[in-house]
């Protein structure tokens, strides 16, 4: 592309300004504030109305305000240029604020037609397929390498990194790829890390689910309680119904009972009326009748006794009282004697004589013992004396022999002999004494026993009235037997006299004979008494029943009496029934009026139950069932379960909604996480790609330019994978002089321009980038630029904006167009 003519109608300080440019390298010279930057901005705004980057809108406005024509009027201008062998004319009238309102005329002069731009499409984009930034990066160099380097140092960034950013566009975003990756990583970690957003949310979901589960369990439990309560309520109602029915039954029973009582009372009254005249009361009647009843009982009793007398046997023989007395005595005597014989046999009298003999034997033995003891006692005493004498005799013999030893020896010898004799007598005496004591004990025991037996014997004999001087068992037994025989013969003679077979017959006969005598006397007296009582009985009856009773006819009187008695009996029975029923009805007594009132009130009560009379109610069955129901403790169970029924505080529905929201949030986070990972992955791919595609090309082109700029001193620039930036044979840029760094930077920018513009040959605008070059470098650089941009094939155009005169001096050597401002 070659810009041939620039016409500025009004733009900042320029008004009706016009200049021509040509192919290849050229200089726009002007002092400071002469408008070099204004022209650069004018060219930029002609091709790109809208700025880009942060606060672009605001900057759009600002730049337009900045370049409002100083003398007033509209901002406008025209650029005439050749691009791709076609000539174009671009005329723009800038709006003071808004790029969209710019008036643009863009004509293709080769064909004489306007070029149609798309909506919001910039002229630059249409022509070069580059956005403003691309245009700026490829065509505008406003800084020098050392500035970049210094800025980079300030930002603690490497120069290579910064160049790479410029190449890749990161410079524009003011971020590094590392920072972008870090942001993405941080965001991923923020979600994924332990206790990160995902973890927290999953825990919250777990908690909500647990709560819902718990609520569901509670609901289930509460339902169970509710069902149990319903069953219990039904049972309790049923029980109450049964109780009601029972009450109803009891009322019915009470009613029937009262009705029966009423009937009985009426019967009682009727009976009373039938037996009692109106003049006396029934109670008075009963008092009279009691007397009659007593009389009748007396009569009956006496007649019965009289009947007994009249039934006695007339053939009975009369037994004299004397005979009976003799009989009785003899019988008693026999019995006593027999008892004595029986007693004697059990008391050991038959051994008495043997025991006496034994007693005498022991007595004799004791006597002989006493004499033996006396004799041994004497001998013992003598041996004691001999002991003393013997000892003395021994000592005396020794003394006689005038030998003390012999005296002692003889003394001891005689003492020992005498002592042994003495000891022998002592032991004999002890033995005799022990035997004597045993004998004395036996004697005393036997003697006491015999004495007691004798006394018993004597007593029995005295009781049986038997005189006997000799206490001999056999003898005495014989005497008793004789006595028994005497008495028995007496009894037998009496039995024969009264023709009785045995003693019992005689005794019965005596009893009958005795009764017969008494009865005959008593029956006479009794008949008289009975007649008197009967007469009294009939009189009494007549007093009550008047003519109904004949005072002379006891039989008829008795009939009337029996009739009345039966009626009274009936009354008593009825009264008993009434009394029992009254007790059942809860009262001690009733009268008719009372009963009627009670019946009415019961009927009223019964009505309340509203039971159909047809309903058959079995009271026993109800009571049985109620007993079972009472055993079931229904009310107790009801309150127990009722107390367990509680309000579930948490709202399951609310929790479900919350859970749904959390799940939705979880899904959101997960999808965001996926997106983050994808973004990171794609971003990394992009970085790899840009390095792979751009960096080698950049190295190649920059090396070619750098070699020419440094007069082949350095033929290589390499940007490493880690962005380490080397020149020549692995010389780090940090070791280079600032001039070489500027040259390296220019090389890279020019290489970049070629890459970015992709052969569009966009004009290259350099704003005083050569000011720090020394003369040598300036010469070489201008030479290179002249050659580079004068290339016929490339149709290049480069404009150096400068205020430095030395550049004008150097450029003289080259056929360069110079525009003075």
């Amino acid at each position: 592309m070659i810009i041939e003519k620039i016409k500025i109608g009004g733009f900042g300080k320029f008004k009706n300004f016009e200049c021509s440019l040509c192919k290849g390298l050229q200089i726009v010279y002007g002092k400071n504030e002469s408008g070099k930057s204004t022209i650069m901005d004018f060219i930029m705004l002609m091709f790109y109305s809208r700025l880009s980057g942060e606060k672009a809108g605001k900057r759009d406005k600002e730049i337009r305000q900045k370049y409002l024509p100083w003398g007033g009027g509209k901002m406008s201008g025209t650029i005439e240029f050749i691009y791709d062998n076609r000539r174009y004319l671009l005329t723009k009238e800038f709006h003071a604020d808004t790029p969209n309102k710019d008036k643009i005329i863009f004509r293709d002069l080769s064909i004489g037609e306007s070029v149609s731009l798309g909506q919001k499409q910039e002229v630059g984009e249409w022509l070069f397929d580059l956005d403003l930034k691309g245009f700026e990066r490829s065509g505008f160099i406003k800084d020098v390498g050392t500035d970049v380097f210094n800025n980079a140092s300030n930002k603690k960034d490497s120069l290579s990194d910064r160049i790479f950013k410029i190449v890749t566009g990161q410079e524009r975003e003011n971020v590094s790829e590392g920072l972008v990756i870090k942001k993405l990583d941080d965001a991923i970690k923020d979600i994924e890390k332990n206790k990160g957003k995902l973890n927290i949310l999953e825990n919250e979901i777990y908690e909500i689910k647990s709560k819902i589960f718990k609520i569901n369990q509670q609901v289930q439990l509460q339902d169970e309680y509710k069902k149990q309560i319903e069953i219990l309520i039904k049972r309790i109602k049923y029980k109450r119904d049964l109780k009601r029915k029972l009450e109803y039954c009891i009322l019915l029973e009470k009613l029937n009972n009262l009705k029966e009582i009423k009937l009985y009372i009426e019967s009682i009254e009727n009976i009373k009326k039938s037996i009692v005249s109106e003049k006396i009361t029934y109670e008075e009647f009963l008092l009279f009748f009691k007397e009659i009843k007593d009389l009748k009982n007396d009569i009956d009793c006496k007649e019965k006794v009289l009947g007994e007398f009249t039934g006695l046997d007339d053939d009975i023989s009369v037994v004299s009282d004397n005979d009976f007395e003799v009989f009785e005595k003899a019988k008693t005597r026999v019995q006593k004697l027999k008892d004595t014989v029986f007693s004697l046999s059990g008391m050991g009298f038959e051994k008495l004589s043997d025991n006496k003999k034994q007693e005498n034997d022991i007595k004799n033995k004791l006597q002989s013992h006493y004499s033996g003891t006396k004799e041994i006692t004497k001998k013992k005493f003598l041996s004691k004396i001999c002991l003393g004498i013997g000892s003395l005799a021994g000592i005396s013999i020794g003394l006689v022999l005038k030998n003390i030893f012999f005296a002692f020896l003889f003394g001891v010898f005689f003492f020992l002999i005498c002592f042994l004799v003495y000891k022998s007598f002592s032991s004999k005496l002890s033995k005799l004494n022990r035997e004597r004591i045993d004998l004395e004990s036996d004697f005393n025991e036997l003697s006491y026993k015999n004495k007691m037996t004798e006394e018993s014997f004597k007593k029995i004999l005295l009781d049986t009235d038997i005189n006997c001087n000799k206490l001999d068992y056999e003898y005495i037994l014989e005497a008793i037997r004789e006595k028994i025989s005497e008495q028995e013969s007496c009894i037998n003679s009496i039995l024969i006299q009264y023709d009785c077979k045995n003693e019992n017959d005689f005794e019965i006969l005596y009893a009958k004979s005795r009764n017969k005598n008494l009865s005959l006397k008593r029956s006479g007296e009794m008949s008289y008494e009975i007649e008197g009582l009967k007469s009294k009985f009939l009189i009494s009856l007549q007093k009550i029943f008047k003519e109904e009773v004949d005072s002379n006819n006891y039989f008829l009187g008795c009939e009337k009496y029996s009739y009345i008695c039966s009626k009274i009996k009936d009354l008593e029975n009825l009264e008993n029934i009434v009394s029992t029923k009254s007790v059942l009805a809860g009262k001690s007594e009733f009268d008719i009026k009372n009963i009627d009132n009670t019946i009415v009130s019961i009927l009223e009560e019964i009505k309340k139950y509203k039971y159909n009379n047809d309903v058959r109610i079995d009271k026993d069955e109800i009571e049985k069932e109620l007993k079972i129901l009472e055993g079931e403790r229904l009310e107790e169970k009801y309150y127990e379960i009722k107390s367990k029924i509680s309000l579930i505080d948490e709202d399951a529905g609310g929790l479900e909604i919350l859970l749904k929201n959390k799940y939705s949030k979880l899904s959101g986070i997960k999808s965001y996480l996926k997106s983050l990972n994808i973004a990171k992955q794609v971003f990394e791919e992009s970085v790899r790609e840009i390095r792979k595609d751009v960096v080698p090309l950049l190295d190649l082109k920059a090396s070619e330019i750098f070699s020419k700029l440094t007069d082949s001193k350095y033929d290589l620039i390499r940007i490493q994978k880690d962005y380490t930036f080397f020149v020549g044979d692995n010389v780090s840029y940090t070791s280079l002089s600032s001039g070489t760094v500027d040259q390296a930077y220019l090389s890279l920018r020019m290489a970049m321009s070629e890459i970015i513009s992709r052969g569009s040959h966009i004009p290259f605008f350099m704003d005083d980038i050569l000011m720090q070059y020394d003369d040598y470098r300036l010469g070489i650089t201008l030479k290179f630029l002249d050659e580079y941009f004068s290339c016929e094939e490339k149709q290049f155009q480069a404009v150096i904006f400068t205020c430095h005169d030395n550049i004008l001096e150097f450029i003289k050597d080259y056929n360069c167009n110079i525009v003075y401002l």
Binding site: E173, D649, D651, S671, I678, I690
Partner: protein, 381 residues
Amino acid sequence: MNKIKILHCSDIHLGSKFRGLDDFKSSQRNIEIKNTFIETLNICHEEGVDVLLIAGDFFDSIYIDNITVNEIKHCMSKYKFKIVISPGNHDPFTSDSPYNSKWPDNVYIFKSNNVKYFHFEDINTRIFGNAFTNTYLKGENINFEKDLARENSDTLDIGIFHAEVISAEKENLYSPVTIEKIRSSRLDYIAFGHVHKRTPVQVIGKTSYSYCGCLEGRGFDETGDKGFYIGYISKGFVDLEFRTVCKRKYLDCTVNIGNCLNSLEACEKINSKLKESFGEDFNRHFYRVTLIGEISDEYLLDVKDIEAKMNSVFYIRAIDKTEPFLDLRSINLGTDLKSIFIKKMMSRIEGSVSAEEKIIENQALKIGLKAFMGEVKYSDN
């Protein structure tokens, strides 16, 4: 013909807590809800309503403060019309619920799970209903066929239930009522509560029914106009109209902030859109504003910043659904990292096999571009 005037409201949730609102606004909102109900009572009085039906969740919880309950009782006692309440899952009838206390004589409260009725002979009307006695109520308690109305009777039979109308029998803890049950009920009208979104008055068989929704919205799941049904009911004829009484509404709005280059510009657009859609006094409402449009990657959108700047509105929540402005021509031409990244992402998006994948990759593109400008950590917005 017997004809009565009713007012059907439900789900008032007195004493409710408002998540997302600060204490002051939460308390202000509670007072507003109470005042809306009191205003409703006044409307009943002024318009000669015979029966006010409150179909459950009158209170947000049974643990409501006594001061509010007493104030409500006092207000109710001033009027003659009948008030029938069917306690719901939020305010079940329990031993310690405010319902288990002395209420004015004109207030009738159902106390049992099972369907009972109040017979108002003076207006020849029976009101059938039941009560939650816990925070849930399974469906078996409502058995219209067994319990309800008499055929060929001149008496008006109206139902009031806090229940969930479902199309078929299924497990549900909120007193589910099937359409078939409604059909077989033979009630003249059923005033339902529980669902906070109003339904039109529908007719099945001889029975009309509706959910009137809540009196005041309490969240963005309860958007739009809120109020009650008021009108006449006679045998076989229901003439009810919906009337809005809410003090504030929860509203959703989508605003295109495309081309905006900063929060101020975005706020201006939002403001003008809200004013245009909801009138001059738009700022009394609650808004959930979804921001759409393509915005330049030069502008790093911060919804919190926008929310803070829109502080003249009672409540606003902004949701960022904007897309980055992608100048495809420029991207295609670009050789810079961002352009390459976008191109690669676009290629991936085009090759997506599922909609879900496409959404995730679109989001990846947005995140990647945002990473050039600022933080990309996940936030609820």
